[in-house]
């Protein structure tokens, strides 16, 4: 199979669509025959990344790349960035506001979940945006 690449827009504050990109990603991975266990890991990561863009950023996108023996999931947004990445990666740390918390977000587990469920987790952030690259070996 040739390498494939999909890009999905994710909009700030768009709680109503929250999870729809991850749902498309899940459907596609299923179609191309990726095993259940790996789909679950990727979908957990994409959902957490998608919701973080919606809740914490000005908007961005998710990119899914399927390579020979590797799947890449890339989340990138337009800012405002994460000041202290080490702190943000600490389980339980969250700056989510009351609106997000009322809906059950803000446990401070999203980034730790992404790290735990990917084989390789790379994150960079500056005021212009946050970039997260997650790799999975097929």
């Amino acid at each position: 199979m040739n390498d494939v690449r999909f890009e999905f827009e994710v909009y700030s504050e768009d709680y109503v669509q929250g999870g729809s990109v991850s749902s498309d990603i899940k459907k596609y991975l299923h179609q191309i025959g990726i095993n259940q266990k790996l789909i679950r890991k990727i979908v957990i990561c994409s959902y957490e990344a998608e919701m973080n863009i919606i809740i914490h950023s000005l908007g961005g996108n998710l990119i899914l790349e399927i390579k020979q023996d590797l799947i890449l999931l890339i989340s990138s947004d337009k800012g405002p960035g994460i000041k202290d990445i080490t702190l943000a990666l600490t389980a339980g740390y969250s700056t989510a506001g009351s609106k997000a918390r009322e809906m059950g977000f803000g446990a401070g587990m999203g980034l730790p979940n992404m790290k735990k469920n990917s084989d390789l987790f790379e994150i960079t952030s500056c005021p212009n945006g946050t970039n997260i690259k997650m790799s999975y070996y097929i």
Binding site: Y15, V16, G18, G19, S20, S22, S23, K26, Q36, R40, V43, I44, Y47, E48, M51, E102, M103, G104, F105, G106, A107, G108, M109, G110, N113, K116, N117
Partner: protein, 109 residues
């Protein structure tokens, strides 16, 4: 136990869903979505007081058997619509989590 077996008890009210032959593989309780995402398993019945429409996405992504809204938490109409269109089984009950577990485990025959 299947979803339809749960519904034999009149304390459980079916709000949405058609696939009632689905087997309930386990139970997960939680209201923090990131915890649910990483710990709930395929075919679990998920008990929660969260009623915002994002619970539908979580149930769908994890292939949960059903969502049980506990203690008669009021369900937003957007959530019902979304659950309907995604064919997610949504059940409401006045029971709390303990009472639900008791009703699932204790056979009254």
């Amino acid at each position: 136990m299947k979803v339809k077996d749960l519904l034999k008890n009149i304390s459980f009210k079916l709000i949405t869903g058609e696939n009632l032959d689905k087997e309930i593989g386990g139970v997960y309780t939680g209201d923090l979505l990131s915890w649910v995402m990483s710990h709930a398993k395929k075919d679990d019945a998920w008990m929660t007081v969260q009623t915002h429409l994002n619970i539908v996405a979580v149930a769908k992504l994890l292939d949960l058997a059903c969502i049980i809204i506990v203690e008669n938490a009021e369900i937003e109409s957007e959530t019902v619509e979304k659950a309907n269109s995604e064919n997610i089984t949504l059940i409401q009950t006045h029971y709390n989590s303990f009472e639900i577990m008791k009703s699932m485990l204790v056979k009254d025959d």
